[in-house]
Assembly symmetry: C2
Homo-oligomer: 305 residues x 2
């Protein structure tokens, strides 16, 4: 199971963290932007050239520190077709560096359409008998709002192509509670109901690591809920956003881990990408600063495990 | 408000329906596929060439019958970068024919990321002061699972750039109830809670038509729930999937409309796209068959309004 590969990479690097690649243009050092604009103007192409150099520098500096990267699709889609090409190029480069790829897309739809999304990222696209891989990454995030028949096509591809998914259970943002924290007539919160579905979906996908292909997204900003969710989904890996910039620290993410020190991978995007903007770094040292922050985060996480 | 434009187009064509463009390769007539494969092979490029000719034929046959088209992003994403280019080309062509474009993407994320998604489709991407339109369509579908701060960036762009959105309230698929039908401690279903949010979000976006920029997705397959939702969101347009192939008929979608005969736009994808597969049509008549089915559907809907 693909999650075993993730666990193996986490163990090899003694690092349960993932570097988010959410490249807002304002994150990119000025000198890189200016070089790209000089050649391509302030265009979608120019922005993507600048972000490509930035992403490449970050991946080069991080690939032996972190086990995984998590590109956020929105920050590529916003540059149109140029952005899509940049996303593919970034993923290809990170793959070559041996990184586990979690693409944050939060896709969701009814059965047949969910199957198309799954083929786009995890599975293969059938072209009259020819099976073609459109992108072929390790893992995507999935929104469970449509229920089982919207999630199942992704799970089928996890089994067929050895992939994994993280399903949204409790998000990190302030208003996540509006739907996710609603209390149902059984006395359980919506996020608990979802957790039970995830645990069921996960049950026949357990790999050698003891974890299954169906993980959960659980925000670092809600440690109390994380504690409850950890118990409800003992064999699901957690993808944990909200560390650092969103406010959650290492103590906050601790409840997302199992007692074996496994079971969670903590994301940091801005904290790592923009590390050069804090302290005495020069712009040209953006990659070095990112590496130092990734190492600091690794040590911070390991200090509570 | 962009929704006024939709209402105007619906009135002009006396047709409250939208043609879904969900082009599975098996929908495309054999002779079109063979021609494309001969030139490009059974590749992503070959598939997209075939689908392009199919989409173009459909748009040519439908643009004076239907007010809007709804491409489903999944069926383009599954062809990778070629599919993204096909989606852009299809949208551009439909725009030139005067059609209102509803892109079914069901995007969702926390605030800053939701803003990036909104820029990708509705708003403009800021490149150091240059505002560039990455795609620039009329309307997208949005998943409300992250709550208000995940939806607000889309609404901000609706106001700024005169666009509209449809937020998932009650989906058409069999398992949609697993989360959406949960009963909360106030006695209301989750879909009712969402409806109240949508009504609130919509309240300061009301246009001349009496409808606002924040509509709702309400499945044709659940007419009882639709009746409740119609009352909770009187000023929201409904995007109604599930007519025809998914089982809902004209009587089933009636509760989605207001007493003025407005308030809903009903989607048909496979029913229109694959009309040539029913009856005595030749493959070469796929566009004519689609047009005939679109006209039949229009008359069917008007018969109950």
């Amino acid at each position: 199971m693909s999650v075993d590969l993730l666990v193996q990479k986490i163990k090899e690097k003694s690092n349960p963290s993932v570097a988010g690649l959410d490249p807002q243009i304002s994150y990119v050092p000025q000198y890189i932007r200016e070089k790209a604009y000089k050649e391509y103007g302030k265009t979608l192409k120019g922005a993507c050239e600048a972000i490509w150099e930035y992403n490449k520098g970050l991946i080069d500096a991080l690939y032996d520190v972190v086990p995984a990267v998590k590109p956020q699709s929105a920050f590529y889609e916003m540059y149109g077709l140029e952005g899509e090409a940049l996303l593919h190029k970034t993923i290809q480069y990170a793959k070559e560096k041996g990184l586990y790829i979690i693409l944050d897309v939060k896709r969701n739809d009814i059965g047949t359409t969910a199957a198309a999304y799954s083929k786009a990222y995890l599975g293969k696209t059938d072209i009259d008998g020819e099976e073609v891989e459109a992108l072929g990454i390790d893992c995507v995030t999935v929104n469970p709002f449509p229920g089982t028949d919207g999630v199942k096509p992704f799970i089928d591809d996890c089994k067929l192509y050895d992939k994994s998914i993280f399903v949204l259970a409790k998000m990190s943002n302030p208003s996540s509670g509006e739907i996710q924290d609603l209390i149902t007539d059984s006395g359980e919160h919506v996020y608990e109901k979802i957790a039970k579905y995830i645990d069921t979906w996960n049950s026949d996908t357990i790999g050698k690591s003891g974890y299954g292909a169906v993980g959960a997204v659980v925000g670092a900003t809600y440690p109390e809920q994380a504690q409850v969710l950890r118990k409800l989904m003992p064999k699901s890996y957690f993808l944990v956003p909200g560390y650092g910039a969103q406010g959650g620290g290492a103590e906050g993410v601790k409840p997302c881990f199992n007692s074996d020190g496994l079971g969670a991978i903590v994301n940091s995007s801005r904290g790592i990408m923009c590390a050069y903007k804090k302290g005495d770094w020069k712009e040209e040292q953006f990659a070095e600063a990112a590496r130092k922050e990734a190492i600091r985060m690794k040590e911070d996480l390991n200090s509570v495990l």
